[in-house]
Symmetry: C2
Subunit: 131 residues, 2 copies
């Protein structure tokens, strides 16, 4: 352990194990954030607009989320037209909010340290040279 390590920190402090890979991927994070703001569900085209995804990519990501138990997919009619509607499963909403709690830690850590604005220097190292 180097002396640069602070007392309050320990192994894995910044490992962020709660950042579930299936949620963390950007396009899926977009989809889930859209659904979080629309608990009644969203039809495919609205979801596509909100997330700025292609049809193919959105379909693929929805399937992955469905297989992971995060969302449910419904087929039906809306304004006389066949539609696909997607919404959170109850456990999916819970897992998403757990993920968000970890993101909050990432943000609050970065903000706390950003405000310190310590000068960039390396007082503990001798003979440093760029690699």
């Amino acid at each position: 352990m180097s002396e640069s390590k602070k007392q309050s920190e320990s192994a894995g402090t910044f490992a962020f194990e709660g950042l579930e890979r299936i949620i963390h991927e950007r396009s899926r994070l977009s989809i889930l954030s859209s659904l979080a703001a629309h608990s009644e569900g969203l039809v495919f085209n609205d979801l596509k607009d909100f997330c700025a995804l292609t049809d193919g990519n959105l379909s693929r990501q929805i399937q992955i989320l469905q297989e992971a138990g995060l969302v449910e997919v419904w087929k039906g009619f809306h304004k006389k037209r066949p539609q696909t509607m997607v919404r959170f499963t109850p456990s999916g909403k819970k897992r998403f909010l757990e993920y968000i709690a970890v993101l909050e830690d990432v943000v609050s850590n970065a903000i706390a340290t950003g405000k310190k604005a310590a000068p960039v220097k390396a007082p503990h190292f001798r003979g440093l040279s760029p690699a």
Copy 2:
């Protein structure tokens, strides 16, 4: 556009384009969060502990971050032992804080909607059936 779409929302509302892929990947996010908390830099072994990464994976991710101009890598001696030290570049710190600002949006959106706790129902859809 479906009527379920709110006035204040528009195309790309949840696209989160600022979630730079190179930063968003979880192990690299761990590394950069560790460095954000240690502006003087971190030696390889401390970084490995903080992020709970293997030697091989940490080396690989540091190289990716270095090639992307986010971090700089220094070789030197600390307590008479050869060490590798990693720290943010100034532009890397700036890009990381821009990324964090987008994460804040993700979090505040999810928290705002989580508090609404609206019941799960689909009033606008007729003839729905699970896909």
